[in-house]
Amino acid sequence: MAGPVLVVGASLGGLRAAEQLRAAGWRGPVSVVGDEPHMPYNRPPLSKEALVGAAPFASLAFTPRSHAADVRWLLGHRVAAVRLRDGVAVLDDGAELGFAALVAATGLRPRRLRCPGPAGPASGRHVLRTLTDARALRAELLRPGIRLVVVGAGFIGCEVASAAVRSGVREVVVVDPEPLPMLRPLGELLARALLRLHRAHGVRFRLGEGVAAFEGDGRVTGVVLDGGQVLAADVVVECVGAVPNTEWLAHNGLDLSDGVLTDGQLRMGGLPDAYAVGDVARFPDLRHGGLPRRVEHWSMPGDSARHAGRALAARLAGTDAGLAPFAPLPSFWSDQHGIRIQAFGAPELGTGDVRVLDGDIDGDVVAGYHAGGRLVGVVALGGPGTAAAAARHRARLLRLPLSPSPEEHRP
């Protein structure tokens, strides 16, 4: 089989998939189709260094590995549909591309609030996922005297609030129906500590309240809360989660209920030559009970692409890579008001039983997250040295036994 490998999605997952195919010895053609006009770039700085102007946007592009220099990049093109069993992808302009194998790396797009009020590009309502989004938001943050409302107190919302303060925005309000910021991923103990941190830097919170509508004529002037109260706003950023980009995979008999379901080798729908990597892949999470999950952390595209690239390269060479099922140890970080949050494992699965492992909650702290009495994640929060402190507990997580893969359960 010499046909091309088609990678759909030109971000971290797509880039690493192409590189790993080459690293694993596949010499045949590889094409990557991506609907953004840019070569793959690093997203985390979009809500951190780049949003405060400390890193130029142009510095965010990844440098592809040299052995992937002959990969073909089709940028500014969206795959509208695909017929996996026929090996045909249809682009938005109607052009068809044939392939022998496919890697889905189409990630997520921001969820939008559906409520009455001004909408559209000039409305002052922003989201933050792409370079284009970040450039537009940065330009607004630099306008003197703006009042910013961030909707959603998750990681990206809290990072935007922090970056806005650092950019000189004096009025920053974060709205969230939850009682604490980042409660779902971090649990109450750390969420409280982070709330104190944000308040100490002048960020205000409206917690336990949702957004009912936006006010304004063409451009937003206020945010109407559930209770009827109106927050004055010149700029709004909606950080209310993300939806997987899977529409193009429809009509192939795949489970697309939340991302695309894969098996333990990251294959979609049991097909031998169709893989999914990165934020879009929902894989059996063998480290945490075996139930399929999507994990939206930066470490996932790299880890999953390494696995899928090796498995697929072996398959194309007519051999079997003999890989154990994919079982990554997720990790993520966040930077807010000069404080680093560094996590390993799946703290979000253990927020009901959080114990301080090192330090104390008023200073640098490492917290352990437990499910059924078992350590499932660690999160460190603090100044320099935070990553090293968390890393000391990472080895414990790595030693935990994996659950049997769902395939092994089958009769």
């Binding site: 440098t63 470490s299 930077d335 040295g385 990553a387 090293a388």
Partner: protein, 62 residues
């Protein structure tokens, strides 16, 4: 093989340490230390370290 870390962008994430522990380490203060000259035998590990660095601060010069 020369290993170059852009100290302006490195933020001591330490992900490189997991990928190539023989080449990178964090000191007692949690700051990165690394070999500038690494053996060819660990090229794959160092490439992986460059991949997993959140700041993309690691460069390999042949």
């Amino acid at each position: 093989m020369r290993v170059v870390v852009d100290k302006n962008s490195c933020q001591d994430h330490g992900q490189c340490v997991f990928a190539a522990p023989g080449v990178f380490r964090l000191d007692d203060q949690g700051h990165l230390e690394h070999l500038t000259d690494a053996d060819e035998a660990v090229r794959e590990e160092v490439e992986d370290a460059a991949d997993v660095c959140p700041m993309q601060a690691i460069r390999i010069e042949d």
